[in-house]
């Protein structure tokens, strides 16, 4: 580029324009190559916490899709492996760090939610090793047999996602996370979702589903729920307020709670940053069917943290609604106009694609891509410092 500049001085105006566009293309090429080099240096670690049966796997599929390519179990390995690998992301399930298998938990009378059933020392050591660029031999918890299977080899990816019940429970593991998300499903919605999931199953009844939720609740409240205060983003799923008395779990009120003041994460906002806004997008420009759509945006406080809150109640019927809403949101970290809508349309068959769960999961996916790119760019800009780390 320096030699090019010297040449430029003698160039005609027209040619100069041509040349700058070429230089820009060269800059793009070089940035993509430095992107690859620096990726080998450090793995970005994301934590996702949620209860069993609360849509973690759908979220994971949306997240990996933002980075492109499909996520698949490790090739030729254990068919019951919980790991998903794509070009950019590797998702590991924290159940693999159970210290007690199913029989062990029964003997001791503890659930999988109980910290005593989990090996946080190993979890910390292995996540730390991945972050330092070292491959690990991670155990496999087999959900069908309830046994701990022989370990599988995990190579350090560009992005490691640890998903499960306890990603933010242990302070050492928590400190390794570059970003953390908590999926907070209200009891009514959890019950409705589990009915949808289990009612057809032989042996299950309303009573057994209720009993299972009730029996696990004390441990859930004691060990899982408190993690949400550490999360950088929380997605709350509640029954709708648009239909009085509705708790079927079909129409949902979903809230995206985003921590303020983080270096690589700028919360999404509606119309005007920091204002408090109620918005019903249905009217002259947009026809919505019953029960319509309602948005809320505003500053709030969450476990004494300053947060921004974006809420959507209701569901989409048509594409026009999605793109109309997207065009009024800012700080989405999209690469082109309509990317959120495109992502949702790509997976219209996933649960939640027509409501706030799909919308906010996709937005969080884009924010994670942005955070990753910022972190990588920073590492590339200061190679000396990165080497020291």
């Amino acid at each position: 580029p320096a030699a090019g500049k010297a040449h430029l001085l003698g160039f005609h105006q027209k040619q100069l324009i041509l040349f700058t566009s070429e230089r820009r293309a060269a800059a793009r090429r070089s940035s993509s190559s430095s992107f690859e080099v620096s990726c080998e240096a450090k793995t970005v670690v994301i934590g996702l916490a949620a209860d069993s049966g609360c849509g973690k796997s759908t979220f994971m599929r949306r997240l990996t899709s933002v980075f492109g390519g499909a996520a698949e179990p490790p090739r030729g390995g254990n068919p019951d492996s919980n790991t998903l690998i794509s070009d950019v992301t590797t998702v590991i399930c924290l159940d693999d760090y159970h210290s007690l298998d199913r029989t062990g938990r029964k003997e001791k009378g503890v659930t999988a939610l109980d910290p005593r059933a989990n090996n946080f020392d190993l979890m910390y050591e292995q996540v730390k090793a991945i972050k330092d660029g070292k491959a690990i031999e991670k155990p496999i918890y087999n959900h069908v047999t309830g046994l701990l299977d022989p370990p599988e080899l995990i190579q350090p990816p560009k992005i490691l996602v640890i998903e499960g019940l306890h990603p933010m429970y242990d302070a050492r593991v928590r400190d390794l996370l570059d970003f953390s998300i908590y999926l907070d499903i209200s009891n009514d919605v959890k019950f409705a979702w589990k009915i949808q999931r289990d009612m057809a199953e032989r042996g299950h009844s309303l009573e057994s589903i209720k009993a299972s939720i009730q029996a696990r609740k004390p441990d859930f409240d004691a060990y899982i729920d408190p993690q949400k205060k550490y999360a950088d983003a929380v997605i709350e799923v509640l029954p709708t307020q648009l239909i009085p008395g509705d708790n079927e779990g079909k129409v949902l009120r979903v809230r995206l709670i985003m921590k303020e003041g983080l270096k690589y994460f700028k919360p999404v906002y509606l119309f005007d940053e920091g204002s408090t806004i109620n918005w019903i997008p249905c009217g002259r420009k947009l026809t919505c069917s019953y029960p319509g759509i309602k948005f809320f945006y505003g500053p709030d406080s969450y476990f004494s943290n300053e947060v921004s809150l974006l809420e959507m109640d209701g569901q989409f019927d048509r594409l026009e609604e999605l793109i109309y809403v997207e065009s009024h949101l800012s700080n989405l970290s999209t690469k082109f106009y309509g990317e959120v809508t495109q992502q949702l349309l790509k997976h219209s068959d996933f649960p939640g694609s027509n409501n706030g769960t799909g919308l906010f999961q996709t937005i969080v996916g884009l924010k994670i891509r942005d955070l990753y790119e910022q972190l990588i760019a920073e590492t590339a800009a200061t190679p000396a410092e990165a080497a020291k780390v």
């Binding site: 659930t111 999988a112 199953e201 032989r202």
Partner: protein, 85 residues
């Protein structure tokens, strides 16, 4: 309506389905006695774990497209050939 949806969706592989219903029976027994809080919770937790595994197994079957599976092994046949342009 719930029953209709259930019928059209793929059913759980029989071995997992049997494990789910067995675990429910055991959980109901484990919670019948007194002072069995821990055992009762652990038993219902097992039900949850197996129900989740059953649901994942059903999802896997749903993704199983007979033509896609055939084409993985036979990409050169008439029904599977695709051209980029």
């Amino acid at each position: 309506a719930l029953a209709l949806v259930a019928r059209s969706a793929p059913s759980t592989p029989p071995d997992i389905a049997a494990k789910v219903s067995e675990s429910i029976k055991k959980a109901e027994e484990a919670c019948a006695g007194e002072n069995t809080e821990g055992e009762c919770a652990a038993a219902w937790d097992e039900v949850e774990e197996l129900s989740a595994a059953a649901s994942h197994a059903r999802d896997k079957l749903k993704e199983n497209d007979p033509l896609e599976n055939y084409c993985k092994d036979n990409p050169e046949t008439d029904e599977c050939r695709t051209y980029e342009d």
